[in-house]
């Protein structure tokens, strides 16, 4: 089982969610984060003073999937989250050692 983490632009959350649901994904978690990659930050002005703000608001989506679905899910995310402009984000995959459904106590693939 794998944990897929995607950092995407906040306004893309709905598009990615709908695309994932359409692809059969049944659960995910979203959090508001700040980050930067090669995009860098932006400047903001307050009373004439310019501030360099490095961190840009992003959304983090996490979902656990069966090994066999990883490639398909990545594909769905990348397509839905893509705008072609700098700052689109990244997706990465890590191992999910154990997954347990709290309500039922199911383990492993049954818990996805």
């Amino acid at each position: 089982m794998k944990l897929i983490t995607a950092i995407i632009k906040p306004f893309k959350v709905d598009d990615v969610k709908e695309a994932l649901k359409a692809a059969g994904v049944q659960g995910m978690t979203v959090s508001e984060v700040r980050g930067f990659g090669r995009q860098g930050g932006h400047t903001e002005t307050y009373r004439g003073s310019e501030y360099q703000i490095d961190f840009v608001p992003k959304a983090k989506m996490e979902l656990v999937v069966d090994d066999s679905n990883v490639d398909q899910v990545i594909d769905v995310i990348v397509k839905a989250a893509n705008t072609g402009k700098i700052g689109d984000g990244k997706v990465w995959v890590t191992n999910a050692e154990q997954i347990i459904r709290i309500r039922t106590g199911e383990h492993g693939a049954d818990a996805i």
Binding site: E44, T45, Y46, R47, G48, S49, E50, Y51, Q52, I53
Partner: protein, 416 residues
């Protein structure tokens, strides 16, 4: 009580409402400033402001009002009205005779003046943001509210006061409130030191919606601050109200134009700050000018106060929320412009300024009043700040400053 025949019920009703309007300005100020600080310090800022409503109100009732308006002395009042003695029965205030006679109950006058006394030290909180120990702040404003504020109020507002008798004009407290608080803020900031990380570290406002809301409340309350100072429900109050609004409006426009040209964007913080700068500048002028003067005064204030923002970077002092640029500079500007734009046709109890055939006499009196207020407030405040710093310490510890005032001073957090 003032006998029924002597009280103007319309004036009294208007002043009673103005008391509420001005009182509302202190929480308005709290949010104006609060939105501009970092989220870990918002409760610290809000607390300092609403606490002023608590402490200063009591001190005003106990001794402040009496020191400001008691007796007939030129330089300070007395203790005749300490603990509000006689205030509900006295027929008139010493010195408030003839043209200056009050047509409202003395109790109403006492309460109206109280709201000014409350908000004046609260103005300082913007300059000292994020690093002033709450206990030191409480003692500092308590002492200030007894020694500094009533003295300056007496000099300028009371017909017995030496600056009033000199001929200086200050309709609603440009010198007494804004210059007084502004220069006191400067004195304290010089003792307190700059925020850790200033000016390298970015410390942008955490909640500009609060700031804009606070601005709206201040603007609204300022109608009471300036037009209420007519102490009458008449054409002069109407003129003061119109002046107040137009100065705010024009100052906002002036600030935004300069901001767009120099910084590239017209910002919400700029619109809010510009309006406040105009409100500050018109405060001394409100009941003494007319026609297009408030618009001109406002425009100048918007531009000049924006340019004054650079003073702190130039001289290296961390006036966190630009109290000096807006209140000190704005107040000085308003008092000086009054020397030009005052028109006796608007208020027969005033004098003509340079542009209205009065020559430079009023302008000179304004400069004396400014000089006296600045020197007195700066020196006394600086001494009090130094004494407090040497005894209990003005500043929070380095770690407390990093953790934030909310946690360190009040064991609270604003946003869970």
């Amino acid at each position: 009580m003032l006998f029924a025949a002597d009280i103007d019920t319309g004036a009294t009703a208007w002043v009673l409402i103005s008391i509420g309007l001005v009182a509302f300005m202190t929480p308005g100020l709290a949010f104006f400033y609060g939105g501009m600080v970092r989220s870990k310090n918002i409760l610290g800022m809000l607390m300092q402001n609403i606490f002023a409503m608590g402490l200063i109100s009591v001190l005003w009732a106990v001794v402040g009002f009496s020191l400001a308006f008691g007796g007939t002395g030129k330089y300070i009042g007395n203790f005749d009205f300490a603990f509000m003695k006689d205030l509900s029965t006295i027929a008139e205030l010493p010195g408030y005779t003839g043209d200056f006679g009050l047509v409202i109950p003395i109790m109403a006058f006492f309460a109206f003046q109280m709201m000014f006394a409350v908000i004046t030290p609260a103005l300082i909180t913007g300059a000292t943001a994020d690093r002033l120990k709450f206990s030191a702040y409480a003692i500092l404003i308590g002492v200030w509210a007894v020694i500094v504020y009533p003295t300056v109020a007496h000099w300028v507002f009371s017909p017995n006061g030496w600056l009033f008798q000199l001929g200086a004009l200050d309709f609603a407290g440009g010198a007494v409130i804004h210059v007084n608080a502004g220069v006191a803020a400067l004195a304290i900031v010089l003792v307190l030191g700059n925020r850790k990380g200033w000016p390298r570290e970015a410390m942008p406002p955490h909640n500009l919606p609060f700031t804009v809301l606070g601005t709206g409340i201040l603007w609204f309350g300022w109608f009471g601050f300036n037009a209420g100072s007519a102490l009458a429900a008449n054409g002069l109050a109407a003129q003061a109200l119109v002046n107040t609004h137009l100065a705010a409006a024009a100052a906002m426009c002036g600030w935004l134009v300069v901001e767009k040209l120099k910084a590239g964007h017209a910002t919400t913080l700029g619109a809010a700050s510009g309006a406040v700068a105009g409100l500050v500048a018109i405060t001394p002028c409100a009941g003494f000018v007319g026609g297009m003067s408030p618009i001109i005064i406002g425009l100048i204030a918007g531009v000049v106060c924006y340019l004054a923002l650079g003073l702190k970077t130039k001289f290296g002092f961390d006036d966190s929320l630009d109290v000096i640029a807006v209140h000190l500079v704005g107040g000085i500007l308003g008092a000086i412009l009054l020397g030009f734009f005052a028109d006796v046709k608007v208020n027969s109890l005033g004098f003509d300024g340079v542009f209205f055939g009065g020559g430079t006499e009023l302008l000179q009196d304004q400069l004396v009043a400014l000089g006296a207020t600045i020197v007195f407030s700066f020196v006394i405040t600086w001494v009090v700040a130094k004494v407090l710093d040497a005894t209990i310490g003005l500043r929070v510890s380095a770690e407390d400053e990093l953790v934030g005032l909310d946690q360190s001073q009040h064991a609270e957090s604003a946003y869970q």
